[in-house]
């Protein structure tokens, strides 16, 4: 009996930090934010409880267009990250051994020692009108005048994929690492070619890693603010920028809070749909 209470106390003490962290930093602010989002400004400093802020999102095309654009761009960025990250991860996990493997893995990690802001400025130095790429093109004679490569969707995409790569490579490398080489060999031995082995053995095995990588990358991209704004400029039309505008420029916290919750709800919906499509469960993927 005594032992049991002792264990229980230990457990409670161990769980206390996470409970505190969750409630003080996540749940409480979100509840407050949710209450704010339900306020409708009817007069000077007078508010009414209503869903008007949410309704505004659906009635004002700019808002949901921005959201749709953000979601689609994020899906494209996630797909691109997966397409680039998969061969890289396969190479690191299955083709390399020992030191070369650790070295390449570390190389994927190194850019993340620098803050995202600095990395994004790095891209700006490369891509801007007076930047390195532009200069190189003029020097080789491929371009007559300065070329502006910033402030378009492609540059946003480049930045997003670059920023997300690690979060795709890490789960992929760990799932591919656990794939027994004999499975791949058996796939070939029984008559499969590179494509069928990839489709029937490697990808099904890597599916939990693919899905968890995609979820993380999608969420990070959707909620990214710095990269789209810096690389896309004023026309980036990113939903987080919209939220920022509501809170900071227009000082409309009520609408901003509503947007925040819509972002949470809609992105969860997209992730759920993605899980359904790939026939994976969240516990399988994260576990």
């Amino acid at each position: 009996m005594k032992l049991q209470t002792a264990t229980r106390l230990t457990l409670l003490l161990l769980l206390a930090p996470i409970f505190l962290w969750l409630s003080i930093l996540i749940i409480l602010p979100h509840m407050d934010m949710f209450l704010i989002s339900l306020h409708e400004k009817v007069g000077l400093r007078t508010y009414e409880l209503s869903f008007a802020n949410y309704a505004e999102f659906f009635t004002e095309p700019l808002y949901w267009n921005t959201f749709a654009r953000t979601a689609i761009m994020s899906i494209i960025a996630t797909t691109l990250t997966l397409l680039i990250g998969f061969p890289v991860s396969y190479y690191i996990a299955k083709m390399l051994r020992g030191r070369a493997k650790n070295f390449l893995f570390l190389l994927c990690l190194v850019p993340f020692w620098v803050s995202e802001l600095v990395r994004t400025f790095g891209w700006m130095i490369l891509l801007r009108e007076s930047g390195i790429f532009s200069g190189l093109l003029q020097w080789t004679g491929l371009a007559a005048g300065p070329v502006e490569m910033l402030y378009n969707d492609a540059s946003i995409m480049v930045g997003l994929v670059y920023t997300s790569m690690l979060f795709m490579v890490v789960p992929l490398v760990s799932t591919l690492d656990s794939l027994d080489d004999a499975q791949v060999e058996a796939g070939y031995d029984l008559g499969g070619n590179a494509y069928t082995v990839l489709r029937t053995i490697i990808i099904p095995h890597a599916m939990p890693g693919i899905v968890s990588g995609c979820i993380v990358v999608f969420m990070l991209t959707l909620g990214n603010y710095l990269t789209p704004v810096l690389l896309g400029g004023k026309d980036s039309l990113w939903f987080t920028a919209q939220i920022y505008t509501q809170f900071i420029t227009r000082f409309n916290w009520e609408l901003g809070a509503a947007f925040g919750f819509l972002l949470l709800g809609l992105s969860s919906l997209i992730v759920w749909a993605g899980l359904k499509l790939s026939r994976q469960t969240l516990t399988e993927t994260m576990g």
Partner: protein, 374 residues
């Protein structure tokens, strides 16, 4: 093994595989006749898995040729070779059902759906799992997984099935059972089996022919009986079956016998074996099987035998029909392994008891000792 080469399902000619300056496989040649159960037996690291992987196509020989059904396959990729491999850890596909695992190769061949279903069902019947097609791999026991791994290959009707120590991961009881099962499956599917193992009993029980491999070379190819009773080299004599072993110097050579003084001072008469000429002063290894040694409580029973030793019982290692007695030579202190007759005659032996041991000259085989082979 000197049949005409026409009947060989699988043949290796002067196969060499070097890793840097290390020769993993060093000039190995052999042929496996159709329908044969051929084992390659050797200690770990002797290069047997390398041979198998080269036959399957996962490794490329440095030189030499591999022929399947008399056609060179050295340049053929693994997925185009008419041989299939059963992996050590089986490598069943966990994300597919049992039936899908068996169907995998058939689908890759582009067979029709109904034909695949038919073949998969008949394979499931033959391995005694007719209702397990829809199960996942994890729901099967170790022995059942084994059978699925083999059936998955055999439905493709390969020229030969390559097995890489598939029983290694099983517990003892199941391993004994699977030995019989494997032999049965080979009869049932009438396919050539090439079996890799370091376990001599697996090789001896199942095979028609066994190649004993050591340090990249084949020491001897023969039937299990030939290997056991007529080993060509001291390695084979020591590796296949149990043996009592002496190292010594030749003191006299007769027409068909040698007299040897062992390093611990026993004088032994033995039959030269292995074909190498023995001469006085040469170093030899002598092997005597535990079951060749006659154990007696009285001296007269072994009076007619060329080799006699006075000993005392150290311990009895009781193991049913395979019971042994460990006996210490009174003169030298060396220990001998002696098989106990199954009649129960010696069931009352007691520790320290004085016994007499004897064995015939023909039961003791003397091989020229190879430099470092000890």
């Amino acid at each position: 093994m000197s049949d005409s080469s026409e009947n060989f399902d699988l043949e290796c000619r002067n196969l060499v595989r070097n890793y840097g300056s290390f020769a993993a496989v060093d000039n190995v040649s052999f042929g496996v006749p159709q329908g044969d159960f051929f084992s390659i037996l050797g200690p770990s690291g002797c290069g047997k898995t390398t041979i198998l992987r080269m036959m399957a196509g996962f490794d490329t020989p440095t030189s030499g040729d591999i022929l399947i059904k008399n056609k060179s396959v050295v340049d053929v990729p693994p997925n185009k070779r008419p041989v299939n491999m059963v992996f050590q850890q089986l490598a069943l596909f966990p994300m597919m059902s049992v039936a899908e695992n068996i169907a995998y190769g058939l689908v890759r061949k582009g067979l029709g759906k109904s034909e695949i279903t038919e073949k998969v069902n008949s394979a499931l019947d033959r391995i005694g799992l007719p209702t397990s097609g829809g199960k996942t791999i994890k729901q099967l026991s170790g022995g059942q997984q084994q059978r699925v791994a083999i059936a998955r290959c055999l439905v493709l009707e390969p020229a030969a099935l390559l097995l890489d120590e598939p029983l290694g991961a099983l517990d003892l009881k199941l391993r004994e059972h699977m030995k019989v099962e494997l032999k049965k499956m080979q009869d049932q599917f009438a396919t050539t089996f090439v079996y890799i193992t370091h376990d001599q009993s697996e090789a001896l029980v199942m095979s028609n022919h066994v190649a004993v491999m050591n340090a990249g070379r084949f020491e001897q190819i023969g039937t299990p009986q030939e290997l056991y009773y007529h080993p060509d080299t001291s390695f084979v004599a020591g590796f296949v079956g149990d043996s009592n072993r002496w190292h010594g110097k030749v003191v006299g050579v007769d027409k068909d016998s040698v007299k040897v003084i062992s390093t611990d001072g026993v004088e032994l008469l033995a039959t030269p074996a292995g074909g190498d000429p023995l001469s006085a002063g040469g170093e030899v290894d002598i092997f005597v099987r535990p079951e060749s040694v006659v154990l007696s409580e009285t001296e007269d029973r072994i009076a007619g035998m060329e080799n006699r030793i006075d000993g005392e019982l150290v311990s009895v290692l009781f193991n049913g029909a395979n019971s042994r007695a460990l006996i210490r030579d009174r003169q030298t202190g060396g220990e001998l392994d002696v098989a106990l007759p199954q009649t129960g005659e010696f069931s009352n032996l007691s520790r320290g008891q004085h016994v007499h041991l004897g064995w015939g000259m023909t039961q003791a085989k003397a091989f020229v000792a190879k430099g470092a082979s000890k």
